[in-house]
Subunit: 505 residues, 2 copies
Amino acid sequence: MASGDSKAADKGLQENQQNTTNEEDFAKDSYGNLPLIQSKEKNDRQLLPVRDVNEALAKQTIWVRGRLHTSRGKGKQCFFVIRHQSATIQAVLCVNENVSKPMVKFVANISKESIIDVEGEVSLAPTPIESCTQKNVELQVKKVFVVSAAEPRLPLLVEDAMRPDEPTTADGQAGPHVNQDTRLDNRVIDLRTPANQAIYRVEAGVCKLFRDTLDAKGFVEIHTPKIISAASEGGANVFQVTYFKSNAYLAQSPQFYKQMAIAADFGKVYTIGAVFRAEDSNTHRHLTEFVGLDLEMAFSYHYHEVVDTIGDLFTQIFKGLAERFATEIAIINKQYPCEPFEFVEPALRLEYKDGVALLADAGVQMGSEDDLTTENERILGGIVKKKYHTDFYILDKYPLAVRPFYTMPDPNNPKYSNSYDMFIRGEEILSGAQRVHDPQLLLERVKHHKINIDQIKAYIDAFRYGCPPHAGGGIGLERVLMLYLGLGNVRKTSMFPRDPKRVTP
Amino acid sequence: MASGDSKAADKGLQENQQNTTNEEDFAKDSYGNLPLIQSKEKNDRQLLPVRDVNEALAKQTIWVRGRLHTSRGKGKQCFFVIRHQSATIQAVLCVNENVSKPMVKFVANISKESIIDVEGEVSLAPTPIESCTQKNVELQVKKVFVVSAAEPRLPLLVEDAMRPDEPTTADGQAGPHVNQDTRLDNRVIDLRTPANQAIYRVEAGVCKLFRDTLDAKGFVEIHTPKIISAASEGGANVFQVTYFKSNAYLAQSPQFYKQMAIAADFGKVYTIGAVFRAEDSNTHRHLTEFVGLDLEMAFSYHYHEVVDTIGDLFTQIFKGLAERFATEIAIINKQYPCEPFEFVEPALRLEYKDGVALLADAGVQMGSEDDLTTENERILGGIVKKKYHTDFYILDKYPLAVRPFYTMPDPNNPKYSNSYDMFIRGEEILSGAQRVHDPQLLLERVKHHKINIDQIKAYIDAFRYGCPPHAGGGIGLERVLMLYLGLGNVRKTSMFPRDPKRVTP
């Protein structure tokens, strides 16, 4: 897995070490390895972010800090690219009255990914530098210091990791790629690619938009416990924890707790936090630990008040992403091209039975009370996209038989329920429902589902002292982002993913 | 634990049931138990929040939904209080041409905490109603329907649960109190008190201020895994999880992951999430699961860049709370009186050795390299408050010996380190440091601390490919709120607290 140029880099390291024993060098104060930054003294030097270096700074001498992305030494000069987050700039170092040959050699031999402080004069690029984000300027380098050296043997190169999977150049030539396990094993390097820098900024944006939209609607953020005393939904797929001299479990969702917050008069609540599923599913869309965006809301008379709220929430998220993260999305699309995301306002809401009918029209047969298979969800997503021009829609009134015990039955048809899923590009990203808020009906449903009443006593008891009608839903953050960006694998949207085979790094 | 009036309530329930068999009642359509709200049909009726009912609405007929907080039936009339979240309003029901005697009886017998829809005309109160938040208006009731009935036997009364611990009335008489375990065992009722409604709104405010302040400073929100492969800091105090056919652990902090995000070029990151400590500490300030507000930041040359950022973060939080949550804080202080919170801007920063000297001046002797005991922290907090008039301060440059292995040693004095704690009212709420970002020095420190290198290999490796100098810290959300509000127990600021003896509800 070592990069191809590691031998050359090893040689360079030796030469750099020898360098310190050389005879007097007139440029010796202009380059070298900085001592470890241990906060020995303060320094007022301004380090300019690479993304801010542009034509307006021409002829000014500035300092930047970044990684050595690539370098090419040719005799008396060295061209190198400095990368900081998603931004890159070309730097030029030439032997002159202030720059010595040993200095050029030193810089040419700095290992890739090392962090360097560079002083240089901003100059206009004679022709646009297509390989860098800062296309119209370059740095005429005066000083270079290594802040933190990377080992010369890198397990993967950022250059390779940032290459699109499908060659998009005219000549159809693709460079080396990095497979997913290598990326995840060396996540600290993999995360440095422009696409990854952008993905996790967009992910933060989804959370911010979720919260800001709900805050404006009067929701209260809450925090729910992850350690619970009993496997809440029947005992399957739950991780067990050794809890002092006893056992406990990891919560599969904040479901019960957000409902208790409703029974406790908080009215409208949301929570963002870790959710755990001990499911041995090794697919592109399953994780054993993911980030849940959960909300729950008391309503006045009809659960569609909540469905409309969630529909509008997604509209606001989609609008906000398009408005605030266009740059990041463009960077991601460059590595991972995908069809532009479409949505309609207000969000499309279909009934389950109408979805089944659409499938039947397309030749897909299924029972009216069967659950949708993943494959049928995808087909239906395609049909909906063609017919309604939206990649997001709501499917309402699922068959009661395929939903959890706490789902409110449809009062108008006992086969159905007041429950809904929401989809992006044909894959489920939210599951929700009106909940049973009456303890008697809840007990009936618990018995019908043959669930051990003792294990959920505290939950049922929560409804004995008055509870408003309420509905809500849970969103998988990583799935939303994977599908919105068309990334194809949920491991691309979890910074340190957990699946049945991976708990490191 | 049943409330004193449960027998009367039982009797009332029977009478209410008999009521349905009575002869024709001219008001029969104006009261009763609503069928279960199962979203059978939509209803455009506007339910006004109780907090919004004021003089401006005088003579208007409105609908409100709330809980029956208290009621007093006297012959032909019934006075009752409707509570919605922190707001209460008095309602008056009198027999007249539209209100029958059976109706008054029905309402007088509704069990406390039941959720009711009430239609009434807003009238100006003849004298201010001191027992309600809406003091200048009352409702002349026309219709009352029970939306969700509470069981007549309540494990605790909200009236009792909202009473200040110390009697503050002139006569010094205190009513019944509710002890902490009863509260926590019946948290869904306990959380309905005005103080609890306010506490969790202020808690949401702390998180929002934390995020908004850091977003404005260019931080990126990240999510870090809670399931980890090895006990990160030596193996003590860590919960073990059964992970398929193997074992894993619950993260004691997001420390390693936020540092990896720094090594991965995110520059400035924060995360809010569950943190787990398998510590058998049964104190007022320990939880086994709490909410960590963590941040980490690359700096240019000195870790005080980070300390100043965190100091300003707290300033913004304190200012924001005072500005946006004055109402909630006043409600909380009513039940839990405490000294007003003082702070200075910029935040006070003292060196550890100067703190030790202040203690010595006050007659408290300790070794210069010893850690501060909880008791000495509190004494020092008192001294600082007296001298500098601040309840928040930063203690910098802790002895190296008492800090974790990844703490950067002080380059100017090997006995000390570039680390700091922050305090509110003399108790620690943040611990942080410049971290060792050099893999060689890190290995030395690991060996010095006799930690198993194999278990933290992925962590050490993260620094092999270049890492900027960085520092950060972790804040305990529940502690910040407990101390800021002077609540005295961290179980008062955790919605569903977890300690060695409690994992329910």
